[in-house]
Amino acid sequence: MRIQRHRALIAGAATVIAAGAIAASVAFASGSGATGSPGSAATGSSGSAAAHSRVAAAAGSRPAGRAALNWFRAGPAPADWHQVTLPGGGAVLSYPPSLSPMTGDKGTVSEGFTRSGRVLVYLNVTPRQGDETLSGWAHFRVGHLTDDDASSARLDGAAGGLRFRGGPGSCVVDDYVTRVHANHYREIACFVRGAHASSVVVAATPAADWARYGSLLERAVDSYAVR
């Protein structure tokens, strides 16, 4: 009787442990797969209440993601817009007269519009600095945001093979929350390859103001030209 009870206990324990092992294997397998899926949460936690992932895992264009950039049509800026050329002559940014120069890194150009110290419209052009590529742009940009100054970032759309004035480009639409002050911005960021130089154009606004300024940002990107 006692021996039979021991056998039953051992058999039960073995069954439970085996089931646990199988469940753990399945859980880890599905978890690692999720890190590679577009738009899914990946590693770590920002602690932010927002539904952002610490590092958005989406790394390339996908059919649904391209919709966020369907507005793109390269073309000249409105006649009354101003133009500023990147030092070195590699790119030309067009912007509306309501914007004014903003402080930025040497060798870049930044134009923007602020109210009460709050940046409402931000345009920036920077020569290629790191490992940016046309094919890996989405992965690079969203990863760079969280490596640099964002506590979280989310890829909202991406497209490659865009024909800018002067060369091909890849773009993302994303939103992120800054480490400092937890400001939530939404941006269009494109890497564009010119005949002589490659550059990045960024057009951003607070996420809450996208409805108001989004079309302006799109127009600035549409008119961006490289050489």
Binding site: V55, G104, N124, Q129, D147, N183
Partner: protein, 81 residues
């Protein structure tokens, strides 16, 4: 089924559980770089060091860097840390 056989099964199940947990924890870090840019290995260093590392790039950190994005502003197009 003998008690010895059942103990062997129990031992095997424990080994399987330990292997599953161990394998999972070691694969998690491996998935991290796949969602980070190629230069993310330098993120362990300070921002200043990482920026100084850039070759032929825009001067950073006292060398001309006036990033608004370091103060809660929008991120610029600088591809360096």
């Amino acid at each position: 089924m003998t008690s010895r056989r059942l103990i062997a099964i129990l031992f095997g199940a424990v080994i399987a559980l330990v292997t599953a947990c161990g394998g999972g924890s070691s694969s998690a870090p491996a998935s991290h770089p796949s969602s980070s840019p190629p230069h993310s290995s330098s993120s362990a260093s300070t921002g200043a060091a990482a920026k100084q590392k850039s070759s032929g790039g825009i001067p950073q950190n006292g060398g001309g860097d006036h990033d608004s994005d370091n103060n809660g502003g929008p991120s610029d197009g600088d591809g360096n840390i």
